[in-house]
Structure formats: C-alpha cells, structure tokens
C-alpha cells in the first residue's frame, strides 16, 4: 500500500504511465478480490465500505429492475445499511417484506418461498449475522430465487475471509464484502454483481468501475484489499480452525465461571470467530468499560451504547428477553489472539460481572426472591 501514498500517486483514469501504473494496481486488486469469492474480475465493483456496497446493491438492483415489479424481501436481522435503504425505497413506492428468524437467528427458506409474489424482484439475506454469528442457508434460498426468477443479494461482510464464500456455490446474483473485516484497510470494499444483472449506479458522473460507480479510486486502500484477499484465500481453513478453537475455549471458560449467561446465535451454523453472550442483571457498557481498563476490547449491543438508545434489533428479532439484551457483549476473535488472551479474559470477566451484579438492584431482587422461595 505504502508506495501508492507517495511515489506511485497516479490517478488510474489517466492514460500516461503514472496513471497506468495506478490502474494496473487497482486491476490486480480486482483479480485477487474476485478470486477470493470465485467471481470474474469484471463482476467486482469497488466501493468505499460494506455500507456503501449494501446501499448500492439494494437501491441499484431495485431501481434497475422496477419495471418487473416492486416487491423486495429482507430478513429482520439485516444490517442497518440494508434496513435503512429499504425504508427509503418503501417511501418511493416499493413494498418490502421483512422476514423473521427463529430464536437462533436462522431464516427459513420456506418463509422466503411463501413471501415471493409475482411482484417480487429482489431478495436480500445476509450470509451470516455480524452480531450473533448465525450463518444463513443461502444455498437453499438461492434454489428458490432461481426457480422464481428473483434476484438474490447477500451481505457477506461478516463472512468473506473467514469461511468459504463462493458466488457459484452460494448461487447469489450480488454479494457485499468489506476489506477491513479481513485485515484489509478501512475504506476499501466491493460489490459483486453477476454478469448480465442490471444495476443502477448510485454515485454517478464518472467513468470509474465501468461507469457504475463514479469517484477516483482509493488506490492504496484497494491495493490493500487485494492483498488481504490473497492472504485470506491462502489461509482460510487455518483461520477458521484457529479462531473456532479459541472461541470454544472462551465459551467453555466463561460458562464454567459465570451463571445466568445466555449464548446468542446458532450453536453450530455460526462464524468461527464470534461469541455473543448476554449476562443477566448487568448492563453492557459498564462491562465494556471495566474490560477496557483491563486492556480487553469488546463490543456491546446495549441500548446505552447505541445512539438511538434502543437495544439490538437482532436480539429483539430472535426473542431475547429485553431485560437481558442490555447485558450483551460481542467478543470477536482474530488471528492476533492467543490462548493466553482467552485465559486472561476468562480470568478478568467473571469478577467484573460479579461486581456489577452486587451493585445491581435487579440482582438484589432476584437473590431476595430466591431466599424467600427457599423458606
């Protein structure tokens, strides 16, 4: 990446040698990105982020195919970068069905089949949920959409670079991915669009990306994305088994030491590097702050940590009790984590939970109730 910030500073749209050099770097990144997901290079459109890829996919596919119909199907647990544009499309005359999931976060392909009407043009179901890790039955859903001649987009931001992602095997027509999710830089992402599928550009006014997405390319970041894709492809199985082992160790360790905790998501069909846990009687941000003081960085889905003061829509959809949803932590693992890190978390988190429980009126009430019932 570094040379492209300094000496190799060309604009890929220029015909002179300096421009050509930058153009070649971008195209090489495109080939590598395509290879990671089993696509052709010409089917990869670079964007600035997963959110942009998702917006591009939803609005672009809906608008380009609106003469065939105006009904779209999403799941309720999609990322906001799909749910919010869906709401916007509703305001401009599209109808959207938001499918529920079961309590482990799985979308039922039969529900997709039942929801499809003559007016349906697009289905978008995420490959795996970024919060609870559940991997969706994309292949089964794709069989249905192919049969009914409906376009199928999947948000693979959480899966690309972590589990096998192959557009042919999955059977999708469009797919979003994001570089910084698999050790690439921020600011470089992509949308795969199968050759022959019509999509309306959302950022207009330039020749870049075959006229489909204007804007001078972020050359260094795209070079980084390409490299990250190359490294991920070579290391995929190892990454899966390495992180799954650590995640299982963490899960076991916490389950042994902490009571009244709930693991969210599917126990089997889930991302290898994700552990989403809810703890009764304590709140997420306060756990996060204490863990941070101990040098442990995690995420929380509590209402307090969101700007809208609402707790996670994903946990709401899977039926998590609203009271315990606010005591949720997302612990994501990476290739930089070791078994020692896991053991450190297993050492530090239980006393934090206990300390917060002892400060909690909800815990106090539960203990008093238990004592009263025991008499």
């Amino acid at each position: 990446m570094l040379p492209y910030f300094t000496v190799k500073f060309g604009n890929p749209s220029n015909l002179h040698d300096i421009g050509r050099e930058a153009k070649n770097a971008v195209e090489e990144a495109r080939v590598k990105t395509a290879a990671l997901i089993g696509a052709k290079a010409g089917e990869i459109y670079f964007t600035s982020s997963g959110a942009e890829s998702n917006n591009f996919a939803l609005k672009g596919l809906a608008q380009a195919n609106s003469q065939k119909g105006k009904h779209i199907i999403l799941s309720q647990i999609e990322h906001f970068s799909l749910l919010h544009p869906a709401k916007t499309l509703e305001k401009s005359g599209f109808a959207v069905t938001y499918l529920p999931t079961d309590k482990e976060g799985l979308v039922n392909p039969d529900d997709v089949a039942k929801a499809i009407t003559k007016d349906t043009i697009l289905v978008s179901i995420m490959h795996a949920n970024n919060e609870i890790g559940t991997i969706e039955p994309i292949e089964a859903i794709a069989k249905i959409t192919k049969e009914k001649n409906v376009l199928f987009h999947t948000d693979a931001v959480a899966t690309t670079g972590w589990i096998p992602v192959n557009v042919e095997a999955l059977g999708v027509d469009a797919l979003s991915l994001s570089g910084h999710q698999f050790y690439g830089p921020k600011g470089a992402a992509a949308l795969y669009v199968r050759k022959g599928v019509r999509i309306k550009p959302q950022i207009e006014g330039g020749i870049q990306e075959d006229g489909r997405r204007a804007g001078t390319e972020n050359v260094p970041a795209l070079v980084g994305l390409g490299k990250a894709a190359e490294l991920a492809a070579a290391d995929l199985q190892h990454r899966m088994s390495y992180t799954a082992r650590l995640r299982d160790r963490l899960q076991r360790g916490l389950q042994e030491k902490i009571e009244e905790m709930v693991i969210n998501g599917h126990p089997v069909h889930r991302l290898p590097h994700n552990l989403n846990v809810s703890f009764w009687y304590v709140e997420g941000e306060s756990m996060l702050l204490f863990l941070n003081m101990d040098g442990i960085s995690v995420s929380s889905g509590s209402a307090c940590t969101s700007r809208s003061l609402k707790s996670s829509h994903v946990l709401t959809c899977i039926g998590t009790d609203a009271a315990v949803a606010n005591g949720t932590l997302l612990l994501s693992l990476g290739m930089g984590n070791t078994a020692d890190d896991i053991d450190y978390v297993i050492e530090k988190l239980p006393p934090i939970v206990q300390r917060l429980r002892e400060m909690s009126p909800l815990y106090e009430d539960m203990v008093k109730k238990k004592r009263a019932a025991a008499r």
Binding site: E285, A303, Y363
Partner: protein, 142 residues
C-alpha cells in the same frame, strides 16, 4: 459518543455509597431494564436531615456515576434542600455528561425524588414531591 470526563470515570470505577440500608426511611426505584437503566436509592433520615444514602444501579457508566454523585450531594442535606437537587446539579458536579447521557442524570434526580416521596408516605404525611417530567429517552431511528 463524546468521552466521559475523568470525574465520571472515577465515580464509575470507584462509586461512593454502594449498598442498601436496612429499614431505610425512604426507598425509590426508577427506570426499567428494557431501557437499560434501573436505579434504587435508599435514604436514612434523622431530624429532617439525610444522614445516610446508598444506591444500587443497573446501567451504563453515566448511570453508575450519577447515582454515586447523587448520594454524595444528598448526605447531610435537609429534606427541603434535597428536594431542590436537580439533574443539572448532578451533571455539573460530575464535570458534565455527554449529551446522549444527560438522561442518566434525570434518572438520578427521579430516584432521589422517588425516595423522598416514599419517606413522606412512610410517615403518613402528604408528599410535596413533584416527579420530574419524562426521562427524555429519545428513541429515534438513526
């Protein structure tokens, strides 16, 4: 979200007066777990003065800090003085709160007023306590 001030972090990491008071003269519990904030305040009153205050809180950094601060503000005050403690005073005493966390200071004021209300009711007196307006939770879609 803006950062918490060092005073807020201090009250969060080393909160004052955590606990319960047996046979308290007033107890107020406000908030709800669905919103992610529940505060319970206990007060001990002798000769119209609050001699002790303790709290238990389920909530974020700001919720714990404002609970801790309100117990500090209230100890040694008369009932009348305590009735005048506002959420702004709690927030100011903490060196300010991020805008999105101001509602935690409102909850602390409500917990105090609820405990004072309980004190009057326990004594069989008419409570002059006026509960503050809506907690101000802005549940907007982003």
């Amino acid at each position: 979200m803006e950062q918490y001030s060092s005073k807020v972090m201090d009250h969060f990491a080393h909160p004052h007066n955590v606990g319960e008071i047996e046979n308290a003269d007033g107890v107020g519990t406000v908030g709800n777990p669905v919103c992610g904030d529940v505060m319970r305040l206990y007060i001990k009153v002798e000769n119209n003065t609050i001699t002790d205050a303790k709290f238990k809180t389920f909530g974020c950094g700001a919720a714990i800090a404002t609970s801790s601060m309100v117990t500090d503000l209230v100890k040694g005050k008369s009932i009348d003085e305590a009735l005048k403690i506002s959420n702004a005073a709690v927030a100011e005493a903490l060196g300010g709160l991020p805008k999105v966390k101001m509602h935690c200071s409102v909850l602390a004021e409500e917990a105090l007023k609820s405990a004072l209300d309980d004190y009057y009711k326990k004594k069989g007196l008419v409570s002059p306590v006026k509960m503050p307006a809506e907690s101000g939770h802005e549940h907007e879609m982003e």
